[in-house]
């Protein structure tokens, strides 16, 4: 991000401090509360600090069969969707970035369609099609509906990555006799790799947390972690179950946070959404 080095230098940045404090309160406090609940055994109103900390509810939550079942379904779904998405989208992204073919610009823009409609309306329209195909409440029905949601991310970000590769290095390699595969493997992939890896990771994580499609298409047979979590919240079972589940559920996001920062910090991510 470009900043001008003129205006605020010298004086203490009171505005920055105010923004930082406000954002910490609004953004960090709710998460801290959940974290505290996860390690709490007794916390009765109106005590500010829990009466008793402990790990008792971790044992209880982790001994529930439905939690493990949902976790495995979620992982299987996310892995399948991400693998399929990478398999079909990455070659397509390479073609969009490097080849000339009729209708290229139009096809490239067509992926915007997934973001140009209110999402849940689109999901309902797809679900109506799946109803006729008997894909409702099946694993592959959920895979398909989640796959659609990953297309834009898995094409637009890798296209940018392939385009950012230095073409002169590829040509130089070709000049000294490297074949196309060798050039791709030794020159193109190492340069585009980190961004593509981030796109794959973001796809996995966003699929893992996808709730609407999984519920609409999967219910009641396919119950993913987020859907199970909604059940926990609705049925008002023990408060700590939800808190423990939240902490466990947050792990993939935390990993994504560490790896994806470099992609999101640059403008390319916002550009991908059309800013």
């Amino acid at each position: 991000m470009i900043r001008s080095y003129s205006s605020t230098s010298g004086r203490f940045d009171w505005m920055g401090l105010a923004f930082a404090i406000l954002l910490v309160i609004v953004i960090a406090v709710p998460l801290l509360v959940v974290f505290t609940w996860a390690f709490t055994e007794v916390w009765r109103y109106p005590s500010v600090i829990p009466q008793k900390f402990g790990l008792r509810f971790w044992d209880q939550t982790l001994s529930r069969a439905d939690v493990w079942e949902a976790l495995f379904i979620s992982l299987r779904l996310s892995a399948t969707v991400t693998a399929l998405s990478a398999l079909i989208c990455l070659p397509a992204a390479y073609a969009f970035a490097r080849m000339k073919f009729p209708g290229r610009d139009l096809f490239f823009l067509s992926f915007l369609a997934s973001h140009a409609f209110p999402k849940f309306g689109l999901l309902v329209a797809i679900a109506a099609i799946f109803l006729q195909l008997n894909l409702i409440a099946t694993f592959w029905g959920v895979v398909l509906i989640q796959l659609v949601g990953t297309l834009m991310l898995m094409i637009w970000i890798p296209v940018a990555a392939f385009q950012a590769v230095d073409r002169r290095m590829e040509e130089a390699a070709r000049d000294v006799g490297a074949g196309p595969l060798r050039v791709f493997w030794s020159i193109t992939l190492p340069q585009a790799g980190p961004t593509i890896f981030a796109a794959v990771l973001l796809t996995f994580v966003s699929t893992f947390y996808e709730t609407e499609g999984a519920w609409l298409i999967g219910a009641p047979q396919i119950r993913t972690m987020p859907v199970l979590m909604i059940n926990f919240i609705n049925n008002q079972v023990v408060v700590q179950y939800g808190a423990v589940l939240s902490v466990i559920l947050w792990v993939p996001s935390f990993i994504a946070l560490i790896f994806a920062r470099r992609v999101i910090g640059t403008g390319s991510f916002a550009k991908g959404f059309g800013a």
């Binding site: 009729p102 999402k119 797809i126």
Partner: protein, 296 residues
Amino acid sequence: MADTATLSAAGGSEPAIGRGLKGLLLVAIPVFLVGWLIIYPIFAAILSTLFVAGPDGVQFSTASYQFFFSDPYSRANLALTLWTTSICAVLLLLVGLPIALYLRFSTSRFADLVQSLAIFPMFVPSIILSYALIRTIGPNGTVDILLNAVGLPKLPTPYLTPWGPVIGLVWDNLPLTVLMLTAGLAGISSPSIEAARDVGAGPIRVFWYIILPRMGNSILVTISFTVLGIFSSFTLPYVLGPASPEMMGPFMLRTFNDLYDPLNAKTQAVISFVFCLFFGLFYVWSIARNQRSQSR
């Protein structure tokens, strides 16, 4: 980052036709998926709600739409959705714009911290956020606990009122709003602002006459994107919002899954499309325009 868009001409020594065919084959499956799972369902939903199988064959009928607009409950849901979406869009701009402006012009060490904090919600899934907000602003939540600790009365909780989803949706959409607005601000050159300052313009005049006219487009794109996301949001309104009236997202899910009524669910979906049509078109149009100007 201009390179997202530069679909620069591809080089290569192979015959153009063979290369073109290869390119088409490589993009065939994703493009087919867009056609089969986005374009076709939308047209199918529109047609199948307008041409309904009656006693004497398939007939044109607007009955399901007439039902939607004559049913007070459906109308209340639509009204709630429109209300929530507009309040959220306004709040997001009011919160996001100052943060984006600060990030654009600040050079202090707080800037990185503010940016990280503002982007952080992107890494908090909405289901965890819903749960966190229940525990924080729900009945006997942390806010109540803290107010009680300093001897103040409890506030009425926004949980299960229309304000619950508003708080959650603003929280959830803040990162993209800030990122998109900051990207828009990055395009404004510093010299033009310096020049205005040199002739004595205060910060408000600089904002009004220099910055705002130049980022009008990115504000509109940001609003379009958030409106599309919020209009049919599901998780946050379902968990934090009132049961009746409900927003279109939960309403559609209930109609489809619990009432086994695909016709009316599709009608609700088409009505959502129509209400978001302008924002969707504007969003696609402005990205397509960016693409073209960048690919020269």
